[in-house]
Symmetry: C2
Subunit: 359 residues, 2 copies
C-alpha cells in the first residue's frame, strides 16, 4: 500500500474474478461466457473503414448505441446509459447516488461484486439470507427502508423473481432506489424494464456479456428515468467523458439490431440447458432448474469440491463456492451440445472413479 | 436532476468536449486527433480469430498491454496501470488518493478536465496563473504544500517544462503526489518517466489518443511506483474489474510494439508542424512554437473568434477559448501536409475578405 492510499478503503474486500489459468487449454465453463461468437454483423460493423481508422475520438454521448438499445426496449436514448460492462454501469450508478453510510440491501448469496462495491465505498449494507430453497424472500425487500440491489435471475442460484414481486418492491416507496441487475434475463425470463415507465426509482441494468455473446467487448447498459440517466451521465462526464470505444459503440448497436441471431443463440442455449439438466437428473444429480445460461446442481455421492477439482484435471473449468450454504453445488456454464455431452461423460467417469476408490 | 442525485455534486462543473457537428463533412482539427491511422499491426491484432470471437471476458489484469508498455519504458508490468483513455487513468488515480477537501493545484490555463474533476469531487484546488509568456512558474509548484497536476507539454499553450524542473517539484516533498500528464510528450519532448525510478510520489500518465493515432480505441496508462499502481488496481477491481476490452488490450500492445511506425508518424507530424508554423510566421501570424501535434497562434488583424467561425464556415474545425488571456489565440491540430496547406490557403482568404470588408 502506498503512503497516499486513502484510509477509507481499509475495509474494502477485493473482488476475485473467476480463475483464468493459462497452463493448458481448458473448456472454460466457469464464467458464464457464451460458446457462440457475436453476430457476424458485429464484426462487419467493427470492420467498417470509418471505425477501423480509430483516428477520431469516440462519441462521448454514445448516441448510436443508446439509440439502438432504446429502440429495442421502447425508450428514448435519454433513458439509456451505456458503459464498459454492467459493472461500470453499476459503478457509475453507485457513484452518482450512494455515499458512505447509505443504507442498501442485497441477498447473502448473489453476485459477489455488490459486496465488493459496498465494502469499498463504505455503504451501510445488510445481506438478507436466501430462503431454504435458495430463492429470495420478497418480503425482506418490500418491508425495508434500504435501497435494494437484486440480480434477477439471481447468480449463482439461477432463481428468478416474478415481475409482480419486483413491482411490489419498487412501488413500496418512491424514495427508495431499486437496482435490478438483469444479466441473465434473456434466457426465458420476463424483464422488469417496462416498470421504468411507471416508476422513477427503478434502475434496470443489462449486459452484452451473456445473451449477446460478447464479454470481451465490455458493454453494459442501464434503463431508468431520464433524470437518473442524466445524473449518471453528469458523473461519467466528470470521471471519464469518452468512456466507450468506437468499436464498442458500433459493435454494440449492430448486436442489438441483429434480433434474429440473438434469438437463435438464446433458443440454442435453452435447448442445450434443458437437455443437460434432464441428463443430470437422469444420472441422479440434484438440479436447481434455472432460466439462465448456466446450470446449478449437486452430486449425491461426490463432494462438489472434489468434482470441481477432478473436472479441472480433465480440462473443464466450473465454479465452486466456499459459502457453506451452497458449497455442495457447482455452477456450470451451458456450452454447445457437444461440450455439455463431454461434461456429462466426464461427470460419469469421475463418479465411477470415486466409487471405485471408496470400495 | 433526480431525487437521488447526491447533494455533494452541486458544485460540479460539467466537462464540455470539443464540438463534433454532424451537419456536414468537416476537416476536424479541433481535438488533436491524428490524421494517420493506427499501425497496420493494430488492425491485424484486432482481427485475429481469437480476439474477434470476443466470446471470453477480457483479462482483468490487462497483462499483455501492461507488459508491452512496461517493456517499452523499462518498467515491470507491476508499475503500469491501464485504462479506457488517460481520463479514466486520472479518474482512478483521483479516486484512489484524493478525497473532498484535499489540497491540489494546477495552472489556470490547462486541460479543462482537471478543473471538472476537482469541482465534482470537491477538492480544495488552486489554479496558479501562467506567466505572461504563457509558461508555468515552476516556483509556484515547488513551494506549495499542495499535490500537483501538470500537463507537460501544457495544453493548449504547447509549452513544455524541462525534466529538471519537474524533478525539483517532485523532489521537494515525498509526501506530496505529483501527477504529470504527458499526453503530448512524444512530439519532441523528454518524458519524466525515468524519475519514477527515483521518486515514489510521481505518477506519469500517457495516452494512445495522440502519438499512437487511436483516440477511438480509448487507451491510456500510468507509470508509477508498484505500490501506487497496486492501490489504483485495487480501486479498479472494486469499480470495474474488467475495464478494458480484449480489442483494446491486444490492439494497444501491437501499437506499442510497432516502434518503426510510431516514429515515422511522429516525424511526419513534426515536419508538417514546422512547415505550418513557418508559413504562419511568414504570413505575419504570431506563433507560440510548440512541441506537440498542434499549433497555437494568433492573427494580427482578424479576431480569433471570427477566424474560428469563418474557418468553420469553410469546413475546418479549430479550437477557440473563451478565457480572456488566450481568447486571441487559436489551437489547431497538425493534420497532413495537404490538409495544413488547405488551412493556410483558407486563413489567407479569410484575412483578405475581412480586410476588404473593413475598407
Amino acid at each position: 500500500m502506498s503512503y497516499f492510499f486513502l484510509d477509507e478503503y481499509e475495509h474494502m474486500e477485493s473482488y476475485v474474478p473467476g480463475e483464468m489459468p493459462k497452463d493448458r487449454e481448458y473448456l472454460k465453463l466457469n464464467a458464464n461466457e457464451s460458446s457462440y461468437p457475436p453476430s457476424p454483423k458485429v464484426l462487419e460493423a467493427m470492420n467498417s473503414t470509418e471505425v477501423k481508422s480509430m483516428a477520431h475520438y469516440s462519441d462521448p454521448h454514445c448516441m448510436e448505441l443508446r439509440k439502438a438499445i432504446g429502440e429495442e426496449y421502447g425508450f428514448p436514448a435519454e433513458q439509456v446509459f451505456v458503459g464498459n460492462g454492467a459493472d461500470e454501469v453499476l459503478g457509475f450508478c453507485m457513484m452518482s447516488f450512494f455515499k458512505p453510510g447509505m443504507k442498501v440491501c442485497f441477498p447473502d448469496i448473489t453476485y459477489d461484486f455488490y459486496r465488493t462495491y459496498a465494502t469499498t465505498y463504505r455503504l451501510n449494507f445488510v445481506q438478507f439470507p436466501l430462503k431454504k430453497d435458495l430463492s429470495i424472500d420478497v418480503e425482506d425487500y418490500v418491508h425495508t427502508d434500504r435501497d435494494v440491489i437484486l440480480a434477477n435471475p439471481n447468480n449463482p442460484t439461477g432463481k428468478a423473481i416474478p415481475v409482480s414481486d419486483i413491482e411490489r418492491i419498487v412501488a413500496q416507496d418512491p424514495k427508495r432506489m431499486v437496482i435490478i441487475d438483469e444479466a441473465y434475463v434473456d434466457y426465458g425470463n420476463e424483464s422488469c424494464v417496462d416498470l421504468v415507465r411507471k416508476y422513477s426509482n427503478l434502475v434496470v441494468i443489462q449486459t452484452f456479456s451473456k445473451s449477446r455473446n460478447m464479454p470481451g467487448a465490455r458493454i453494459g447498459f442501464a434503463i431508468s428515468s431520464a433524470d437518473i440517466i442524466s445524473d449518471m451521465n453528469k458523473i461519467k462526464f466528470a470521471f471519464n467523458p469518452f468512456n466507450m470505444s468506437t468499436l464498442a459503440i458500433v459493435g454494440g448497436a449492430a448486436a442489438i439490431q441483429d434480433k434474429d441471431y440473438f434469438h437463435r443463440c438464446i433458443n440454442e442455449v435453452e435447448r442445450v440447458r434443458e437437455m443437460f439438466e434432464d441428463a443430470l437428473e437422469d444420472m441422479g444429480f440434484g438440479v436447481i432448474r434455472t432460466t439462465t445460461n448456466f446450470a446449478f446442481f449437486h452430486c449425491p455421492d461426490v463432494p462438489a469440491k472434489v468434482l470441481c477439482r477432478e473436472l479441472k484435471k480433465s480440462g473443464i473449468l466450473v465454479r465452486h463456492y466456499s459459502d457453506q450454504r451452497i458449497n455442495e453445488y457447482l455452477r456450470i456454464t451451458i456450452g454447445t451440445e457437444e461440450e455439455m455431452k463431454q461434461v456429462l461423460l466426464k461427470l460419469g467417469e469421475i463418479r465411477e472413479k470415486q466409487y471405485d476408490r471408496a470400495c
